[in-house]
């Protein structure tokens, strides 16, 4: 579309400024979003996107500046006021009551009185109308937790529409979706736009910006650095605007030279705490000098597979061999001695203790090493010295080993984990979601390190929900669906074929 100045602005932000103490989160931001358009906002973590949207949605008050909605100045004190002004928000982490039905969730907070009967019937009628108008079919009586993630997201959108939203803000909406689900979301968004709704899409995925937006604004370090018509820009230009320098978007790597089998998994079966089979009779090998990627929609057993190999979860059947030694059901400490390193999927809950100072996390899992102190004691000087060497080598910022880990950005936190695991010079490296919540500059760096590991003759097993990442890093790709490995492809496999396998449709 890109009607530009021809159409009326739905939202105008004028001179928005917000400080948190010394942190200048938003610096004099001006933004105009045209009515009936899809407007993307991109930027690295900490660039100020979320703060800006939180101001628009009433979570924060701007220190200075003005918000105009459809040309009229608006004061948005809280989310109630935002909803009243026709702004709806779909959060990255859904705000749904999981054991309520779709209808109950849509009604929540808008019941219309002490008795539910009236609210129920009006919600049911309205859901039917939304389905007819926008093609957003969903069973109003389905319990939310039983719905696929993509449908849950649709419920979030319906919630906003039911409340009369004319302007929809979506925060990283595709993070949890399969490629087909994401396509479907985009289809819905286009219909909404064509019906006159205005959509603001916050994302760090450049491909999505190119695929769906009309206009895109780039934020960097609290400033709005550029606004472009999507049709007139390129992925390269946007990446450069985001980071402030030229970025290598393609991972450069040579051919793999696979050697001995370093990881061998045979008939592995893993159950979760409820006894549900999450990994079902899986077998594969990973050789020295190759990266094997596991593609799959989140929740199809990849996490459990990784945790079982890493010794965190006990497999209920099957064998694991690391460099020829039995390794199934062995505790993580002894696995590390066998040469295994593990960058876990969830750095906040596993890879790091966020309340620890940085140097304390730099030894997590290796704290029993004699180099970090003789006998039962810890040698803090030696630990800090080594932590500071890694900080320098991996350019972890701020370069302060005494800073609490929670106060590092996501990318730098991930670098702490990556530095700790890679610098041990392991034989086998397990990696889960290497770049989740990590900004572009750090992604480039981490990808480079992973390739270096491969080229140094290590075996790498990679799990990621970012299909692009799996494809660009892996030499071989295994696709998991419902706990089984449903197929194997080479690293340059075509995205559509992988997407179908991930959805369990083709093998």
């Amino acid at each position: 579309m890109g009607l530009g100045s021809a159409s009326d602005p739905a939202i105008e932000l004028v001179g928005i400024d917000k400080k948190f103490g010394a942190v200048h989160a938003n610096k004099n931001i001006n933004l105009t979003v045209a009515k009936g358009s899809i407007h993307g906002i991109i930027g690295e973590n900490g660039a100020g996107k979320s703060t800006l949207m939180s101001i628009l949605y009433g979570f924060y008050q701007a220190d200075q500046g003005e918000i105009r909605i459809s040309g009229r100045p608006a004061t948005i004190r809280d989310s109630q006021a935002a909803i009243a002004s026709g702004i709806g928000m779909v959060h990255q982490h859904f705000m749904l009551v999981e054991n309520f039905t779709v209808l109950e969730n849509v009604m929540l907070g808008a019941e219309g009185g002490q008795l539910l009967a009236k609210g129920t019937s009006s919600v049911r009628k309205e859901l039917k109308r939304l389905e007819d108008d926008y093609g957003m079919e969903v069973d109003p009586d389905a319990v939310v937790e039983e719905l696929p993630v993509g449908t849950q997201q649709r419920v979030e959108i319906l919630k906003a529409l039911y409340r009369g939203a004319e302007i929809l803000i979506l925060d990283e909406p595709t993070g949890v979706l399969t490629p087909p689900e994401a396509d479907h979301l985009f289809k819905v968004l286009r219909v909404l736009r064509d019906q006159g709704k205005t959509i603001i899409l916050i994302t760090h995925k450049l491909r999505e910006i190119m695929a769906i937006t009309d206009t895109v604004s780039v934020m960097r370090r609290g400033e709005m650095v550029a606004t472009r018509k999507t049709a007139e820009t390129t992925v390269e230009e946007l990446a450069e605007l985001m980071v402030g320098r030229r970025v290598l978007l393609r991972v450069e790597k040579g051919d793999a030279a696979p050697g001995n089998v370093l990881l061998s998994v045979r008939n592995l079966t893993v159950k979760d705490s409820r006894g549900v089979v999450m990994v079902d009779d899986v077998s594969f090998d990973v050789r020295a000098g190759e990266i094997v990627g596991i593609a799959g929609v989140a929740g199809n057993g990849q996490s459990e597979l990784l945790e079982a190999i890493a010794g965190i979860r006990k497999p209920s059947a099957g064998e694991v061999w690391i460099d020829g030694k039995p390794a199934a059901g062995i505790d993580p400490r002894r696995l590390r001695e066998l040469g295994l390193a593990h960058i876990p999927e969830d750095r906040h809950h596993m890879g790091l203790v966020l309340k620890f100072e940085e140097y304390e996390n730099a030894i997590l899992g290796y704290h029993r090493d004699q180099r970090f102190g003789r006998g039962p004691m810890l040698d803090l000087d030696a630990i800090r010295k080594e932590a500071e060497e890694k900080i320098a080598k991996y350019d972890i910022r701020p370069p302060n080993s005494r800073l609490r880990t929670a106060n590092f950005s996501g990318g730098n936190q991930q670098k702490i984990v990556v530095a700790r695991e890679i610098e041990r010079d392991p034989k086998l490296l397990l990696i889960g979601q290497p770049t989740r919540g990590v900004d572009i500059g750090a992604i480039e760096f981490i990808h480079k390190r992973i390739i270096d590991m491969r080229d140094a003759g290590k075996a790498v097993l990679l799990v990621s929900v970012e299909l692009d990442e799996v494809r660009s890093l892996s030499d071989r790709i295994l696709v998991m669906f419902a706990g089984k490995v449903v197929g194997e492809k080479s690293g340059d496999a075509n995205e559509q074929a992988l997407g179908l396998m991930m959805a369990g449709i083709a093998a």
Binding site: G21, R334, V353, L364, G365, L378, L403
Partner: protein, 368 residues
């Protein structure tokens, strides 16, 4: 951005915030005193003078402080491993049995300084034994430690009743207590320590176990922040999933942490049993185990903070007793109300003022 993630310098975190909390507690206590028609400033003056005015008062204050340091450390060690040990009361009680058995069997033969190390070990072993079953149930069966340690307080209480009434009672006596230990089974008073500051200990029961408590503070500090075991305990305490990832064995660390915690609680018994009364009496713990929870929370689970907050509670105990003597309208129960207010503001509402202070700090200091 919320204020919880902001790092404040130590002097604010451990100095300014507790001080403001304490002032608030005193302010509301003052209102209570005023409401019953007494002069709050006079009451505060009497309380402080009673606790710190004379050598004897100081001696009593430090005697109470000693018990609270032990139980405070006990609670703190468990908290660092993510365990809420409510059982320090019972563990201290059983620890008394361990100390008494050592004293009863050795006091005839050896001087006190030979008895002492065995008594420390005996008290710690019995305290640890009392914590062992709840610890095992938590580690292996997942039974919640809060519930089981509370239950063990009752079990210990009944057990000690039985032991004192049926086994250790002096034949022919009515009081359920052991015989008085000979000097070889008693810990000497610290007259010299008070004399150093020109005071007189008088009848106050301050004794050598105060020094043992200070040594334990140092050892606990080393354990938590300077050993691999302490590192594993803290990791488990903050993030069990990170501990699992790092290969830190859950059951083992839970057992060890609880045994150390129980051992420290058990050592508390040295103070009243071998230091003050020179015999094992019924209900000698007198709530010190529960006070330890408040002491630990208020002292931010750090040995240095625990010494300070134990001292505060020592002052409240001793000064409060003097106060209710001098102002009869302020009863023993009023003192408990005041202690409750201190616990409320200094322990439970620890974070109430933090956001405001963070904002003030950011405006004035301009820190991140």
């Amino acid at each position: 951005m919320s204020t919880t993630s902001v790092q404040l310098p130590g002097w604010i975190n451990y100095g300014v915030i507790p001080l403001i909390n304490l002032m608030l507690a005193l302010f509301f206590s003052g209102l209570v005193v005023w409401a019953i028609g007494e002069n709050p400033f006079e009451a505060l003056q009497l309380l402080v003078a009673g606790a710190l005015g004379r050598g004897e008062g100081i001696g009593f204050t430090l005697f109470y402080t000693t018990s609270f340091i032990f139980t405070g450390l006990s609670v703190a060690v468990a908290i660092h491993a993510g365990l809420f040990n409510i059982g320090s009361e019972g563990q201290a009680y059983l620890g008394g049995l361990g100390a008494a058995l050592v004293a009863l069997s050795l006091d005839r033969y050896v001087p006190w300084y030979v008895t002492m190390p065995f008594a420390v070990i005996g008290a710690a072993l019995f305290g640890a034994a009392c914590a062992a079953i709840p610890a095992w149930l938590q580690a292996k069966r997942g039974s919640h430690i809060v519930i089981t340690t509370i239950m063990f307080n009752f079990i210990t209480s009944s057990l000690m009743n039985y032991v004192l009434v049926h086994l250790l009672i002096v034949p022919g006596k009515m009081a359920p207590e052991t015989r008085t230990f000979l000097p070889g089974g008693q810990l000497p008073k610290l007259d010299w320590l008070i004399a150093l500051f020109g005071g007189k200990l008088g009848a106050a029961p301050l004794n050598v176990s105060f020094l043992i408590a200070l040594v334990m503070c140092f050892l606990v500090w080393v354990l938590i922040w300077r050993t691999k075991l302490g590192y594993e305990m803290r990791t488990l305490g903050i993030s069990p999933s990170a501990a699992g990832y790092a290969g830190i064995p859950y059951a083992k660390i839970v057992m060890i942490a609880m045994l150390i915690s129980g051992g420290l609680a058990g050592m508390m018994a040295l103070n009243p049993v071998m230091g003050a009364s020179g015999r094992l009496q019924i209900e000698f713990v007198g709530g010190a185990g529960f006070v330890g929870i408040a002491v630990s929370l208020m002292g931010r689970n750090h040995p240095a903070g625990i010494v300070l907050s134990a001292l505060l509670f020592g002052i409240l105990y001793q000064g409060g007793a003097e106060l209710s003597f001098d102002m009869p309208s302020i009863t023993r129960d009023m003192i408990v109300v005041i202690q409750g207010l201190v616990i409320l503001f200094a322990g439970a509402l620890e974070y109430m003022l933090r956001p405001a202070i963070v904002r003030l700090y950011q405006q004035v200091g301009g820190g991140k």
